[in-house]
């Protein structure tokens, strides 16, 4: 094992770490913004409306993220219309393509989490809200959504970790994220063990950080579920 190479390349790893964090955070924010309307549409009783978000969720959850990313990164150039329009500025960049693929993917998973949690809202709560004379919009705003966000937290924590791990795919399409950095170090010095183990340790650290963060957030927002102390 030759860890001198790794120490020499640490700046590259930290650069990759920053790209990974940026990619994951941006795609999670975009994904969450998309997921809420998709989940709301999917819970509608009207079958003809809810089939569209359900098909979206089914497609993005049923196919590999790698294929989705390739569809956008390699696939979009196939269409003349995209080639000639302003959109090409976006689709010719690997970073934008990866971001778009990740955001669409996590939106589907998050929407499914939100939909599942929303449908499990205790009927008594909604009934009570109706009895108080709340409108439909108010019921969503005051009763369903706040409790959904709380109860969805553990599942969402898993999704965040999934997104972090999925983001390594960005390294496949030339982006220098953590995995991309490890690939470069390996290609230059041929040190597969050291380079990939270092990247793996960085990911492990990030995973622990996310798990710890969600535990803290859950302790706050699930405080009403804990047994009383003292």
């Amino acid at each position: 094992m030759d860890f001198q190479v790794i120490i020499d390349n640490l700046p590259l790893y930290f650069q990759g770490l920053w790209v990974t964090i940026l990619l994951v955070v941006t795609s999670l924010i975009l994904g969450l913004c998309l997921a809420l309307p998709i989940a709301l549409l999917a819970t509608l009783k009207n079958r003809w409306v809810s089939i569209v978000p359900k098909a979206y969720i089914y497609f993005f959850r049923g196919t590999p993220l790698l294929v989705q990313m390739f569809m956008i990164y390699h696939g979009m150039g196939q269409f003349e219309a995209v080639h000639e329009s302003f959109l090409w500025v976006i689709f010719k960049q690997a970073y934008a393509c990866a971001l778009l693929a990740f955001a669409l993917n996590t939106a589907a998973y998050t929407a499914e989490i939100l939909r599942g949690t929303m449908e499990q809202t205790a009927f008594g709560e909604i009934e009570a809200a109706k009895a108080c004379g709340m409108s439909n919009a108010m019921i969503y705003r005051r009763i369903i959504l706040p409790s959904t966000f709380r109860r969805a937290l553990p599942a969402y924590g898993n999704e965040v970790i999934f997104m972090l791990h999925g983001s390594a795919l960005a390294g496949v399409i030339t982006i220098v994220d953590l995995f991309g950095a490890a690939k470069i170090v390996n290609a230059r010095n041929f040190v597969p063990f050291e380079s990939f183990i270092t990247a793996g340790l960085f990911y492990l650290g990030l995973t622990f950080l996310i798990v710890w963060g969600f535990k803290r957030v859950e302790r706050h927002w699930h405080a009403y579920l804990h047994p009383r102390e003292g």
């Binding site: 196919t63 790698l66 294929v67 390699h74 150039g77 196939q78 490890a182 793996g200 990911y203």
Partner: protein, 228 residues
């Protein structure tokens, strides 16, 4: 659309490989998961901590990093060992690396599902088995295992679906699965979007069929359970 039909045999051959990789690594992961679950529930501190490190480390790292590590690193490792034993140069094929890595990764996820399943088996049944004079192995084979399947099945089904999608990553280390072949076909026809769509559709077929299979198993293993 005639070019899709021209290249369909190539893609379907890739699909066969995808299914092969998935099934073989599923087998490895089930074996590892069973060992891991038993180790986690055993009284030995050593076995517990080894299994604990295994599941934490594997589930904390991206599968792609682990796969490249085993593919590139495993090659060196095998040759170093081979050199010391005086063996000839041995090539680690992407197929072997892919199957081993995916099996190894999902063994960790299976460990957690199986552990939950075993914990859900009522202790009274296991105690009764011992009271009848069965050996620990007999108790496991006749009582714990059949009873745990029902509880472990949802987790198992989920893991299998994630596993099939993970097999797409073997294309990155050069294995000619359907994603790789779609890339070839898309490159030579300049219609990559169409071919990746075909692959996405084939993945949906695999997941759809698996869904039916898991549901069938669930019905079969819950025969003895009363439902409201």
């Amino acid at each position: 659309m005639s070019y899709v039909i021209d290249y369909l045999p190539l893609i379907l051959r890739g699909m066969l490989l995808t299914v092969e990789v998935a099934l073989l690594s599923l087998f490895i992961s089930v074996v590892l998961g069973m060992i891991g679950a038993l180790a986690k529930l055993s009284r030995s501190r050593l076995a517990q901590s080894v299994a604990g490190i295994y599941t934490t480390v594997i589930r904390g790292m991206p599968d792609l990093v682990l796969m490249t590590l085993i593919f590139f690193g495993g090659q060196i490792l095998v040759n170093n060992i081979g050199e010391k034993l005086g063996l000839e140069y041995f090539d680690v094929s992407p197929f072997v690396a892919g199957v081993l890595t995916i099996g190894f990764i999902f063994g960790a996820y299976m460990t957690e599902s199986f552990r939950g399943g075993i914990l859900a088996v009522s202790t009274g049944e296991i105690e009764a088995g011992y009271a009848f004079g069965m050996t620990p192995i007999q108790v496991f084979l006749r009582i714990t295992f059949p009873a745990m399947v029902r509880h472990a099945l949802p987790g198992f089904g989920n893991n299998w679906l994630v596993l099939t999608k993970t097999t797409a990553l073997v294309s990155v280390i050069g294995l000619q699965d359907m994603v790789y072949n779609a890339g070839l076909a898309g490159g030579s026809t300049r219609k990559p979007f169409t071919f990746y769509c075909v692959v996405a559709f084939l993945f949906l077929i695999i997941t759809g069929v698996s869904d039916v299979g898991v549901r069938w198993m669930d019905r079969r293993y819950s025969v003895g359970v009363r439902k409201a």
